[in-house]
């Protein structure tokens, strides 16, 4: 299993994509009021390793949609 990571990865044919921005989840998962959340914004291209560029935290979150959303209050 561990050797799988070092294997050469074939490049699947896909249209060129622009970078999408994500938010680092470092410390966000834990309750801590005195430690600072990382919150670094990370830009990724398809195939990039999922990792925060500032703190190497391995979980990223997607940013909220920029489209206008209407909610129905009931």
């Amino acid at each position: 299993m561990s050797s799988a990571a070092s294997n050469p990865r074939p490049q699947p044919p896909q249209p060129k994509q622009e970078e999408t921005r994500y938010v680092c989840g470092g410390d966000l998962l834990f309750v801590s009021y005195n430690t600072r959340c990382c919150g670094e914004e990370v830009s990724l291209r398809p195939g990039d390793k999922i990792e925060c560029s500032a703190c190497n935290y391995p979980v990223l979150f997607k940013k909220r949609t920029r489209r206008i959303v209407e909610f129905q209050a009931r």
Partner: protein, 446 residues
């Protein structure tokens, strides 16, 4: 509190990514507790709300432990809950030749011009749905494509499944790499639910019941202090269950809320203990201007006249349980069938049918409703037309060239007849044949 009650599950509940999460929007601390509850910190994470309960009959929609709810209370947020569900998916690899990755999935950019764009509405350019979007059933959350043999890719998206006509919202999307360094995604989908008819509620005494009807506040009874119940519970729930604690909870909570002090509802009022005894509670109630027995003088909300009896009314800590009709409601006309037996599938997740079981069948037979039994057990299930040889009683087949049935054994089609039977029966006949048992069909008139 209990396993099924909704409430706060942890202080980090909104940062977690649970597969299924039920939260209460505005949990409260119970007005009547015990010392033990305080010592173990059970009331730190609320699991219910203090509802003003009137113990009386109302409208007939309160039979069999059903409760009548106040619509205005629901509008103010009583029992409102948040339901969160997680969907997982990510890139899979397809190994060939000792663990060398030959092929893997891709997360494709949404096809904005394709005919499937409607389903890709919530996707970003990266092919992943973004938080804040309202999703409808069959919307794509992750636009995954799997490689096929010819070097191309075929869509295999992760779609959202849920009830029609409800607004579920993508709450949170997290990305991470798995052990092979491939992108994996978790989607948390959120739904806010107000109580509806059929949702389950319970007090802390195991007095569970479903919401039978929701009534306008104008039609509910009210006291001289304009106190109106959030909830009406039928008194028939008391005698056989013998939940005296619930009545004492009502008294204690009523005293507690009117004098401004949380009360203890411990079982024994021994001198060394700290329990608030019913006698002391009674004194408090009288001091606060209530009747000593916790009963109030109520007016009917419909007629405006005083009710004929005094009504036992006060706050009781009520929990909303996680069994909700919206998750269970299911009906089907036609739909998928099991390949082997050609009978309808089972279960809500497979859009299955509702089974006429053995006992229901017994009822139909006992009543003599043979046409109904025939229609339910065959026509609505797995009807099948077979060709039977009247000579040897074995199954034949229809020859499309000769346009007639043929017996496989006799090799002629002279004595063939057609008949309808359940496909499961035909299957049984053939399975018996495969075990060297020959069932023969003898046709009385054909």
């Amino acid at each position: 509190m209990g396993k099924q009650a909704m409430g706060n599950i942890a202080y980090n509940q909104l940062r977690r990514m649970d597969t299924l999460l039920y939260l209460l929007v505005y949990p409260q601390k119970p007005l009547l507790t015990t010392k033990t509850i305080e010592l173990v910190g059970y009331d730190k994470l609320g699991a219910g709300q203090n509802a003003t309960v009137a113990v009386m009959s109302y409208s007939g929609y309160d039979i069999e432990d059903a409760i009548v709810m106040n619509k205005a209370s629901l509008d103010r947020g009583f029992g409102r809950s948040i339901y969160m569900k997680r969907f997982n998916d990510g890139i899979k690899t397809y190994d060939e030749k000792n663990q060398v990755v030959i092929k893997e999935d891709i997360i494709a950019r949404p096809d904005r011009d394709g005919q499937n764009f409607g389903k890709m509405r919530v996707l970003d350019n990266d092919g992943i749905a973004s938080p804040g979007e309202v999703v409808r059933p069959k919307d794509i959350l992750l636009n995954r494509q799997v490689p096929n043999t010819s070097g191309g890719y075929k869509p295999a998206p992760l779609t959202y499944k849920g009830p029609e006509g409800e607004s579920y919202v993508v709450d949170k999307v997290s990305l991470y790499s798995d052990t092979r360094n491939k992108l994996q995604c978790k989607f948390l989908v959120r739904h806010t639910r107000r109580p509806e008819v059929g949702d389950k509620f319970s007090s802390r005494h195991g007095q569970k019941g479903v919401c039978g009807t929701i009534v306008q506040q104008e039609d509910l009874p009210f006291s001289e202090r304009s106190i109106c119940p959030d909830l009406i519970m039928n008194p028939h729930g008391f005698p056989s269950r013998m939940t005296v604690g619930k009545m004492i909870e009502l008294l204690g909570s009523k005293a507690g809320v009117s004098c401004g002090r949380f009360h203890y509802g411990s079982a024994f009022g021994e001198p060394s203990g700290h329990a608030d005894k019913v006698e002391a509670i009674t004194d408090t109630l009288v001091k606060m201007g209530f009747s000593y027995d916790g009963k109030d003088f109520l007016y009917s909300g419909i007629t405006g006249c005083p009710l004929q009896a005094y009504i036992f009314m006060g706050p009781i800590y009520y929990q909303r349980l996680k069994h909700m009709v919206i998750d269970k409601m299911h009906a089907r006309g036609t739909g998928p069938r099991i390949q082997l037996t050609r009978q309808p599938t089972e279960g809500k997740s497979r859009n299955g049918g509702l089974r006429i079981g053995e006992m229901e069948r017994d009822c139909l037979i006992g009543y003599g409703a043979s046409m109904l039994a025939y229609e339910r057990l065959m026509l609505a299930s797995d009807p099948f037309e077979i060709h039977v040889c009247r000579e040897c009683g074995l199954l034949g087949y229809y020859d499309h060239k000769r346009k007639s049935g043929i017996c496989t054994k006799c090799k002629i089609g002279d004595h063939m007849a057609t008949m309808k039977l359940p496909y499961a029966c035909k299957l049984l006949i053939q399975e018996l044949q495969s075990m060297n048992i020959v069932p023969r069909l003898k046709l009385a008139n054909a």
